[in-house]
């Protein structure tokens, strides 16, 4: 029961943090510098790892499915399979997992350290709400950066699959056939659904990590504990939300 109470308390606290951040939405234009800084941290610095990861996810997916599909004589549909899997599921989820590990952990660590070393208390006594300058620019930045990051991830995944399909002797589906199959079954809403999912995941990751960081109590040892908590909670929420968002979008 205590555990359940704690979970309900955390959900309530996270929602409250969002509402408090929203109250300061009108200050966002004059926090443009902070917004750009967060866009750089969240988006630009994550770009290399997103491209590498999604490229190889597409490649492995093509490799694994290519061999199986050949047995059924369906290897001409490999483009469709890789394309749809990456755009609807693997792209948004893998980019979100990567953002949780890379950006979420950094946010939780930074805010937890600010809390432990009383920087957050200093902001409160200065009548500068922490939600305004610590949470709002990060939320805005993730909402702004998540769609392009995911789109780049999806395209890299497609090309990873295309490359393996063409140059793997067992598969040997050329790029033209691969992309023709990909296009024939792909609809615009598949792309928009994937981007919407990524947007939801990114928003939840940043909110959970900010909440966990700002609610750190104790000494420096708790910073590490907060980072672990934030990343684990984010990963669980990504996968749980993935089910519900997919169900809602179908």
């Amino acid at each position: 029961m205590t555990y359940l109470n704690a979970i309900i308390g955390h959900i309530g606290g996270t929602v409250l943090l969002f509402v408090q951040s929203l109250k300061h939405l009108h200050t966002l234009p004059r926090q443009f510098g902070r917004f750009i800084e967060q866009c750089y941290v969240i988006g630009f610095t994550s770009l290399p790892i997103v491209t590498i990861l999604t490229f190889f996810i597409g490649a492995v997916l093509a490799l694994q499915s290519g061999y199986s599909m050949e047995n059924f004589g369906a290897k001409q549909f490999i483009g469709t399979l890789v394309g749809l899997s990456v755009v609807r599921e693997l792209g948004p989820v893998m980019v979100a997992i990567l953002i949780a590990g890379r950006v979420g952990s950094a946010i939780a660590a930074e805010l937890a350290s600010m809390k432990v070393y009383q920087e957050v208390d200093a902001l409160v006594t200065m009548n500068i709400p922490p939600e305004r300058i610590l949470v709002l620019p990060r939320l805005a930045a993730i909402l702004f950066m998540m769609p392009p990051l995911t789109l780049i991830g999806i395209i890299c995944g497609w090309y990873g699959g295309a490359l393996v399909s063409q140059y793997s002797h067992a598969i040997s589906v050329d790029n033209e056939a691969y992309f023709a199959a990909l296009k024939s079954y792909m609809k615009w809403h598949d792309v928009t659904d994937g981007l919407l999912k990524a947007e939801v995941f990114g928003f939840v990751i940043v909110l959970v990590c900010c909440y966990t960081g700002l609610n750190t109590r104790g000494g420096p040892r708790e910073i590490g504990a907060s980072v672990t908590k934030a990343v684990v909670a984010s990963l669980i929420l990504i996968l749980v939300l993935d089910y519900f968002v997919t169900k809602a979008l179908l």
Binding site: S113, M114, Y117, Q118, E119, D121, A122, T125, M126, I128
Partner: protein, 267 residues
Amino acid sequence: MATAFTSSPFVDKTFGVTVKDLNKSFGRAKVLRDINLEIKPGEIFCIMGPSGSGKSVLLKHIAGLERATSGEVRIGEFDAGDPATRDKVHLALVFQAGALFNSLSVYDNLALYPREHRQCNEAGIRERVMNALSILSLEKAVNKFPSELSGGMKKRVAIARALVMEPQLLLYDEPTSELDPVMSATISEIIATLREQTAVTSIVVTHDRTLAMNIAERVAFMMEGRIRAVGRPDEFKHPTDPVIANFLNPAIDLKNPRFKQLENSHE
């Protein structure tokens, strides 16, 4: 040391602090017990006591950073625990470890408050920041980051940051810890001069007997979460209470059984 503070219309009004039947517990540990205090507007009030007696927790309640288990703290007529009070009272707290923003330079640490509250243009902010830095002899540290400063310098930057805020209520948590005697004396002078020039109410939590006796108009002694005594510094020159006397003039008794134990353990 010559000090000059910018005059601000906001500093015209100063506030007293009333603490009524304040109790605070962390789990089973009772940290504050039935605290009652009346701090007058414009007064320099020092809170002394041994480590763990609850001085800093009391200060955090006055700053609105902790919620009381029972009782209340009021700044003027406003509830210190209510976030809306910070819109009505300019309050600054000098934290024991400085609590500077590590990602910002010294200049930006000081400029954050006027910038966020849009009090003046960038030229005005620069003037206020440089004025505060010059008072604390920190002009050369203006572009440094907190990680490049010594503990004492961080403390001085924290005080400068409080000065930039032009507060009506100024709280200091151990302002002279980690400082050398010359800088401690300077800080004492700054606290006194600031009060003289702006009539700001100052509450100082300290272990530093010299600081408290030199600048305070009244001193409160805290022991085990309770206020043991409140009075003018001269009333504590020859304290009758043996606990306070021992705190102010600790006598090391080498015949104390604890020293005997230590001696035996070395043998």
